[in-house]
Symmetry: C2
Subunit: 351 residues, 2 copies
């Protein structure tokens, strides 16, 4: 019988901070590039099309001696039952023995590692002097994407937020986001006055909602898309040279956020080629023959390791298609488990 | 945050009995036949070929409002580390909300539902008057297969046990099996004197090891194979008309227990056509063109429901290829959870 630790949502939230998660996710990406990690095939099932689905993402981090899975269910009707739309868990096991190490709520892990992915895309592919971030989507991921990008990009002066369905929601989001970022993400750094003050400066910028996505696109240096959209929101002709995209939302058949024509001339990077081509933003472009699978420049891990250059000039349009891979979840969850064990957080159950 | 129940191995063992598990597994099979259940694609990964692997089986029982998964790791070197070779867990979630119901040790669920599968194959496909059971394999599944078959078949008088690698192990198994069956499987029925006495009679038969698999095959009415073999142990020319096979061991690429030539003339039944053709005993026969996928007579659920006849005559050779499906695990685990909740067994953790 095996004791293993179960950590609830609030405790996972408390144990994670964005700076660490960015480092962890970069490590997951580089381990993958160094063949010290592998992804297993994704399992996806729709209970009711457009209303409820679930996926199981799993993989092995040889370099960290762990394997495991994340199961996430999405139930559109849940909020009407006073339940969250996304429900899930991450399970981590020792890959040398198969013995469970622990499990935890999947939601905070997903939000943090997905935010980190958007920021990492900008860090390695956007122009370093980028000043204007456009966030497409004002949902539960938005503050995570903004925080991660403000951490990885030093010169952001303005964040524009667009919600394709509701200007009001984008405006409401912008009205509170600065305070929200401070409360939610900066608390862990209070022990480090210098870092805390740096980040306090970083978040002290302009946040504005827009209902004019064309004009916002024309002005943006970095565009992060984090929506459940099923048709392109951003058209190619609006995009200025030098723009970087981190595409976060598309993670299954049918989802799309930006004009597939963008892929024909952009430098395209992904987290995992197979997953990007099958379920990511890249999928439509490959299907339509605008981009051959072989034309994907590299997986992001290769750029982080310096094996492949990111952008070649200030004029390049770069795209980072982040479908979200199990390795991000597993490395983050393993960190949570180590912290929880050290601090005696969570319930120890027996299997 | 969601409370959910975690049940350890000893408690799962205590909450399961073979009579109930046979009924549960039959229900899983029939729900599948009635399209009230679906299997998701299986995930399989070899950490070290022939030494360590893991699989994730998942599915949805619409008819029981649950979905979930079983992850099982097999580590050949574990026993030398004082760990079991098989380690795993089953997770059950509410399919209307995605909320976790609970999880438990996978080993006792696997052993019980796999034993039940062998016995169910015999119940619906073997000649009812069958007297002689040959068990190929004397490993951890052997007593489960025997107990389930003694429960489903009334006239068994002799069980012969064959271990391809060691006659001594088969002999040692036979020396203690009767007592082992009594202690391990009959205890739950002490409250029901009539059932207890019936089963006590059923297990009070001859158990004999053999090193002559040809002669044992020639005499057998029912043959259950439960080994990790990678080549056929039983050849077609040894098999007498009327024999029934429940093939349990083959559950991945490369495994095989009986001569694929048997499939050319036998009536072949499976638990799941896709899984049987991809990873089951049926796989080699289909690959070699001895059996077309369409020639599989039916999934076992159809026979249980009376939609498809099992054997057509006393002369038929019948094969039940049981690859082991997630639905068996989920329905069994859900039963364990209900029992555990009623009896207050297990640890309640929060996600």
């Amino acid at each position: 019988m095996f004791p293993f630790r179960v950590i609830d949502q609030a405790s996972v939230q408390q144990l994670l901070d964005m700076k660490n998660v960015i480092e962890l996710v970069e490590r997951a990406y580089t381990l993958k590039e160094q063949n010290e990690a592998s992804l297993f095939p994704m399992v996806f099932h729709e209970f009711a099309p457009g209303k409820a689905d679930m996926d199981i993402k799993s993989g092995h981090l040889t370099g960290a001696n762990i394997f495991g899975l994340k199961l996430v269910g999405w139930y559109g009707d849940n909020p009407s039952k006073n339940l969250p739309a996304l429900v899930g868990f991450v399970m981590v096991l020792d890959s040398n023995t198969g013995v469970p190490k622990g499990m935890m709520s999947g939601e905070p892990v997903t939000l943090m590692r997905t935010g980190a992915a958007g920021g990492i895309g900008a860090k390695y592919l956007a122009r370093p002097e980028s000043e204007h971030l456009l966030l497409v989507g004002s949902g539960h991921l938005a503050s995570y994407e903004i925080m991660a990008t403000l951490m990885t990009m030093k010169h952001i002066k303005k964040v524009t937020v667009y919600n394709a369905n509701s200007y009001e929601k984008a405006a409401a989001f912008c009205a509170t986001v600065k305070n929200h970022l401070k409360e939610k993400f900066l608390a862990p750094y209070k022990y480090d006055q210098e870092l805390y003050n740096t980040l306090l400066d970083r978040i002290d910028i302009e946040y504005a909602a827009t209902d004019d996505i064309r004009s916002a696109t024309e002005q943006a240096d970095i565009i992060i898309t984090a929506t459940p959209s099923r048709k392109p929101i951003i058209m190619k002709e609006w995009v200025k040279p030098g723009t970087h995209f981190s595409c976060i939302g598309a993670d299954m058949e049918g989802k799309q956020e930006i004009d597939e024509q963008l892929f024909a001339s952009a430098r395209v990077f992904v987290d995992d080629v197979t997953q990007a081509v099958n379920v990511g933003e890249t999928k439509v472009a490959v299907k339509k023959g605008l981009l051959a699978k072989e034309e994907i420049v590299a997986e992001i891990g290769s750029v982080i390791l310096g094996k492949t250059p990111g952008r070649l000039s200030d004029q390049d349009i770069t795209i980072y298609d982040s479908t979200g891979i199990a390795l991000q979840d597993l490395i983050t969850a393993d960190y949570v488990l180590a912290q929880a064990q050290e601090k005696g957080i969570g319930t120890v159950a027996t299997l």
